[in-house]
């Protein structure tokens, strides 16, 4: 299977001169579809920067990024990067980042609206996604009326709206209790295996580790370990 994201000797440096800080150094890797990749490492190791580079949110200072085999131009504009994100990538955030004034289904529908899905189809598709994530009965609720786990599942439904082939999650279980966190991790794992989505999860959470098909370990901006656990939880 061909990689959906390929990074070759990617480096990210923040600031200049004496204040320059290398967040990523010579990172090379390929993300495969249909598997859940975990990005682990201590704080400040460059996990989020790596996620941002993979998510077309951050242009690397050095190296090459390929998306579905196409090399991204180093001077790609912010609007072009946004268009790539919209077309191919779904995001799940630590604090859910739901729109508080919109109901659960409307939060999902916004992603479909961005992708210019006809308005008449937005509600139906949103409800189907929520149902798939076990939230059919919460569709008309506002985020404030949902539990943490429910919010994160709405966020996953939103990330999946429009069928992205890549799903990037930043600490998706950090704000959840043990059982709920495991449930969210299991959902992400199922998405990778069931829908063939390339799922990349940044996490500190040991509860997530058993769900990873592949574990990447970063330290001081360098990829120091890339292993496939002998047995995943799936």
């Amino acid at each position: 299977m061909s990689a959906v994201i390929t990074l070759a000797e990617v480096g990210v440096t923040y600031g200049r001169g004496a204040a320059a800080l290398a967040a990523l150094q010579d990172v090379s890797l390929a993300i495969q579809p249909g598997e859940m990749t975990l990005l682990l490492g201590p704080s400040g190791s460059g996990k989020t920067s790596l996620l941002q580079v993979m998510g077309c949110l951050l242009r690397p200072s050095r190296g090459r990024v390929q998306l579905f085999g196409e090399t991204l131009a180093p001077d790609l504009g912010v609007e072009a990067m946004a268009a790539l994100r919209l077309a191919h990538i779904g995001f799940v955030f630590q604090h859910y980042n739901l729109f508080p004034t919109l109901k659960a289904w409307e939060n999902v529908a916004i992603a479909l609206d961005l992708k210019a899905l006809p308005r008449a189809e937005q509600r139906g598709q949103s409800l189907r996604l929520l149902e798939r994530l076990g939230l059919a009965d919460r569709a008309e609720h506002y985020p404030a009326e949902l539990s943490g786990g429910q919010k994160q599942r709405v966020a996953i439904a939103r990330a999946l709206a429009g069928g992205p082939r890549i799903l990037l999650a930043d600490e998706p279980t950090a704000a959840l209790d043990g059982k709920t966190g495991q449930g969210v991790a299991a959902t992400l794992h199922e998405l990778a295996h069931g829908a063939g989505v390339a799922v990349v999860v940044v996490s500190h959470d040991p509860r997530v580790e058993p769900f990873g098909d592949r574990v990447l370990h970063l330290e001081d901006g360098r990829l120091v370990d890339d292993r496939r656990p002998a047995r995943s939880s799936a």
């Binding site: 989020t48 941002q52 949110l57 268009a83 994100r85 980042n97 961005l114």
Partner: protein, 383 residues
Amino acid sequence: MSRLDADMSGTSLLAWRNLSHDRARFVVTLVGVLFAVLLMGVELGLLLGFARTTSGLVDHTDADLWITPAGTTNVDIAGRLDERRRFEALAVPGVAQVDQLMMQFAFWRKPDGGTESVSIVGFNLATGQGRPWNLVQGAIEDLQQDDAVIVDRLYAAKLGVTALGQTVEINNRRARVVGFTAGIRTFTQSPYVFTTHRNAQRFTFFRPDQTTYLLVRLRPNSDAAAVRDALQARLGRVDVRFAADFARAAQRYWLITTGAGSALLLAALLGLVVGIVIVGQTLYATTVDRLPEYATLRAMGAPNRYLYRVILKQAAISAVFGFAGGMLLVGLVVLASTGSTVAVAMPPGLIAVLALLTLCMCALGALVSIRRVTRIDPTSVFQ
């Protein structure tokens, strides 16, 4: 789910919810827009009302051309013309009819004492050129009597008259009120007193062969510009103008030359600026509160124009509701002005202009917010 929500696009839904979920701020925005619309509406309505008042006398004759003493800037203040000019004008090809119209300030002594300045308007009773319009009491034919005059109800109290038949003095000559009009205002605040040309000459000590204006009707199918030029050449030291040109000249004189219009425009501009500032401030505060949401949209891949649409729709919603409320108040002011000597005009064209100004005001108010979201860093969602 309401039908309204289901029919809304994502940007409309976000815009509406952003506003409606912070009702206190939304109310502040609406009040700001409402008062801006009220201020702009009343000032521009006054401006238009004054403009119509300054040229009312010209607009309500059906003369094609006005012959005025040279250098005349407005219909209320003018010198004198000799009657022979009328015969010279009648001799010009294309001229069908020439009527005299007098306009002269005079002193009106009220029945119970006290004096007011008035503008005597003397017209040709036979042709009716320059006659009062909106006569609501009495008859034009009653002006055939030597001392008969017609005044407007708006100024009845000021002139000290309450009923037909009352006698007053104009420049120490006896005059009798034989009719009332409704809504004929004067910009100079010296009320128009309509009478026959002959009576006007008597009231104002004009010689029988003197008048103020000559009103020209052209023969059908004549070349108006050519006749005007011919009249100008034939009569020499007078001004010959189309009625519309003279009306605009009068408006320009009173509203621009005297600065009265500038003051009204300035007040309207102030309303616009106040509206922009209020809308700008409240929209910006809403935008800043929701920056994480805009950053999330950006991270999801929303183009900048999607974010702009949300903000502009918030501005448009504020404009629509604020305009509706503001126009309701403007309507009340217009209604109240019908019985006063100061008219606030509000024709459909001005309503359209106000709607456009309100939209522009709110869009300008949204610019600061748009600038702010343009600078959003989508990676901030990871912090």
